[in-house]
Symmetry: C2
Amino acid sequence: MARPVQRRTGRELGGEQVEGRQAVRELLAAGRRPVREVWLASGNDDAPILSDIARLAEARRVPVRIVTRPRLEAAALTDAPQGVLARASPLPEVELETLIEGKPGGPAAFLLVLDGVTDPHNLGALLRSAEGAGATGAVLPRHRSALIGPAAAKASAGAVEYLPLSVVPGVPSALAALAKAGIWTVGLDGASPHRLWDLELASEPVALVLGGEGRGLSRLARQRCDQLVAIPQRGSVASLNVASAGALACFEVARRRG
Amino acid sequence: MARPVQRRTGRELGGEQVEGRQAVRELLAAGRRPVREVWLASGNDDAPILSDIARLAEARRVPVRIVTRPRLEAAALTDAPQGVLARASPLPEVELETLIEGKPGGPAAFLLVLDGVTDPHNLGALLRSAEGAGATGAVLPRHRSALIGPAAAKASAGAVEYLPLSVVPGVPSALAALAKAGIWTVGLDGASPHRLWDLELASEPVALVLGGEGRGLSRLARQRCDQLVAIPQRGSVASLNVASAGALACFEVARRRG
């Protein structure tokens, strides 16, 4: 199936403004994209992570400006920038093919495909869980606005600096490409009679597919998955938060891979 | 160990204003506390959950007021009330002893103890995961402000209406009381050499203990736990979001209980 050529501009991922201590530290530590400047609020506490940030900025020759807290907070786009802000080039975008091929000699593909997750806290938490579980990349559908704003980057605790991200025109066609490449696509769907825990899964290439808040997977995405699994619920509330469901799915893969 | 008598006023839990469709529907469906009124924004879409809310309010004889969207949003305390708001009595509080004893003939205690989780989205998501995993209650330390504000109740998707909640003066003394009652206390601590997956756990009474964002468990809480376990990380970012870690721990208990 022909897919449109994907641009490498990173314009769709965004991520130019990074806020919060952990997110800024990982931006500098990962060293994957140019950082223009770091702002620190005057009168910050003496948390070790702030020394880390200053040391990493110096090592990478990134200018550090000490500004007043009101000035920093006025420039911040999240509620709690924690006295730290950075400006950087957009997040780099990788081709879906690159995610499919993986690193030579690296682990088999372990991808997270997000079909319409819109809340930035959920998006960030999902990318953090995926990175922590050893995922080799995440796939996000194109969106009208930049995908990774400061709130998502902060919620990811810097995971967006490490996890390769691919932006695709549509999730169903991406799933077709993954299946064609021999990657097992597993969708989370509360209505499935199969349990996540019973997934027959070891070290083969896999893509976990999660739908958006409330709506779940789109009909077409559901149809394209090789398998659908549910996380059995024992309470009165019918479903899990998408970030919690994603954490369970990602670490299910991690534990099967030992 | 003597513990101060706990009040049953619910003043410490709060929860008098409930916002968001799922949270308001569960408030009405659970029927555990008096609801004074429901506000619906005029010009709401025709989602089935809104009909559910209207039907449940009528059945429970709760007055429904149709107000303009700006009026509802001005009264809302969260960013996205989704055109629905309710006012109710505070959430009922249960004694720690009640959680320890459990329901006669019910499952063995399965408690979630939160040692300083402050972000309302994390708090709500944790209570939602616990309820979904079949937890029999949650334990929260006393706090200067009401514990369950509209953002936490909304993030819990109404799980706070079902999950029994106990407010304690301090987590370490609560852990001592749990241990004395024969409840196995398991703390999540990234520095532990033991993996969550290797926990020897079946259907015995258990309490999962999670620390706050960033700081983790307090020293004293860590010392009081019968066992500490870690969720092994495979990426570059050192730790998981507390709500994701809690989901993994809660569903680990759920799957062991079959």
